[in-house]
Subunit: 330 residues, 2 copies
């Protein structure tokens, strides 16, 4: 749909929001702190401007976001204007796709991979989180930042930056955080809920997953496995599995972390996390998947042993290619 | 020594640093990112002002800090002025205590518990890290912030705030981070080294420690144990044990996390991590220890079972007291 999308800047985005009313704001599936924080901050901002707005998500919103989701207490309305926030592709709307995908008036996003599916798009790929975009527009609209709006925005930014840890953090990210701190947010408590709270079931699962650790290629590659049985035995919810992939790359010396997660009897979701010089996306492409340079994935069919062999072979080729290159340049 | 210490403000601190020369800068034992980042940033700043400075630590500096410690390549000199940074108590100088403790001209620190042992003290207890104080003084002195100085300062702040996660973060902390980002630091790489890198040995130890998990008092208390045998079997270095205590409090619903670490055959170091309404320091005081409200410790003698019983009893009393109070106020 590139070409038929009208690209907005901050001024024309403000004009759009002032002109329209009765907003339904859609989030992506498996909602995270950024899509939810952005949606609720925008809805609350619009309401403070005298407009009507509410938020809809395909999935049940995890209880850990209650501190702003429940607090906001938004009520559904007869909507006129459909907005999607932090949704890079209409397919990420899940079951809402059928109902809304061709009627989305506005999309506010920060993903460079945005597929331009909405009629109007505000895209800031330099923003660490969509919540940065929402902060910009609420400030430009002179919306009064309440503690609840600040809490939602901070949650979005903290989520997408791993609490200011990742390479997407810019000076602006910290300046926004400094400003949000002034509106009476409890940043430490937000971060505790987002980053330092694991369910007992998750702790149990991590133990089992660590027992599957296999090191390959002089410890440069670590493979972790999560079987359906482990998920059942530990009693983990699907949301408890978030972040298992990143454990694989957190071991000293590991440059390619692989996690293999069973989704059906003979189906496995592979997640790769890499550090320089390796490119997760390149490796996953050879197996029909894709993603970003540092984080990518693919889905493989077969027995666990078959699937493991396939991904280890693909990693081996990347390492071989890299080592050959390293010798040539010496 | 309170009373004989001269309290400096930012202006008089600048005057002090301009007036003196040939600085030896001391860090605390078991050096962390803040004491090292502060010491190296200050030394490099003083050198850029045409003065001589180097850094001394009681312990070997862990290799993970090489990216600024080795880079700085400071050479020892005949010193005249002894400075301690991020050292709240002269006893934290370790073996350097004997040699320097009564000759420390200047102490720059952010610990409210500072014992005023130096002749001159600059103390900013509102600073999240001593590195915030060093940032302030280097800026005030118009020192050119090089990428290396910015890297050392960022390391200090990131270390002491858990990467901007804790309650000690203020708007100023984020403003300083925003500014440091402009000097060409690789913040994501610093944070990866500080927060997302575990040795294989540490991963092995965590598995063993999680196997010792005991929940008490309706899952409000979690007790983890690290025996000498586990440390030996896993091959962990002492520095690999950092942060094990905080695991105990990261499980959902746990308000009192206890870790019991064996240091000798019948000696155990207890670390408590608590959330409201519990006070770790109060509980540890009943066993001859102390600390802060959210983090405290004590040392107990006896068999593992004896020691475990003592600390669980102390926790039980705190819970009982709290529950009784909760009923009264209902």
């Amino acid at each position: 749909m590139i070409g038929s999308t009208n690209i907005l800047n901050l001024s024309t985005l403000c004009k759009f929001l002032k002109k329209h009313d009765d907003y339904i704001i859609l989030t992506h599936i498996s909602p995270d702190g950024d899509t939810l924080g952005s949606a609720y901050a925008l809805a609350l901002g619009l309401i403070s401007m005298g407009k009507k707005a509410f938020v809809v998500c395909n999935d049940e919103i995890p209880a850990k976001y209650n501190y702003f989701v429940k607090e906001a207490a938004l009520k559904s309305i007869d909507y006129k204007t459909i907005v999607a926030v932090d949704v890079a592709d209409a397919k990420l709307l899940g079951s809402l796709y059928e109902k809304y995908s061709d009627k989305i008036e506005l999309n506010i996003d920060h993903h460079i991979s945005n597929t331009h599916y909405a009629k109007n798009l505000y895209l800031d790929a330099s923003a660490s989180a969509t919540a940065e975009c929402i902060y910009d527009v609420l400030k430009k609209l002179h919306v009064k930042i309440t503690p609840l709006i600040a809490t939602a925005l901070y949650t979005g930014i903290s989520t997408d930056t791993g609490c200011f840890k990742y390479a997407n953090v810019t000076p602006k990210t910290h300046l926004i955080a400094a400003d949000l701190h002034k509106y009476g947010i409890d940043a430490a408590e937000i971060n505790r809920r987002m980053f330092d709270t694991k369910s007992k079931e998750r702790v149990e699962l991590e133990k089992m997953v660590l027992d599957t650790a296999e090191f390959h290629f002089d410890n440069r590659c670590l493979v972790l496995t999560v079987t359906s049985e482990m998920q059942a035995t530990s009693g983990c919810e699907p949301s408890d599995l978030d972040g298992v992939a990143s454990i694989s790359r957190s071991v000293e010396g590991v440059l390619i972390g692989v996690s293999i997660k069973q989704t059906e009897e003979n189906t496995y979701k592979i997640s790769l996390r890499t550090y320089e010089p390796f490119d997760a996306s390149e490796i996953c492409k050879t197996l029909g998947g894709g993603g970003h340079k540092a984080a990518a994935g693919c889905t493989l069919e077969g027995s666990l042993n078959d699937v493991k062999k396939q991904i280890i072979d693909a990693v081996g080729k990347a390492i071989e290619k890299n080592d050959a290159g390293a010798i040539v340049t010496e």
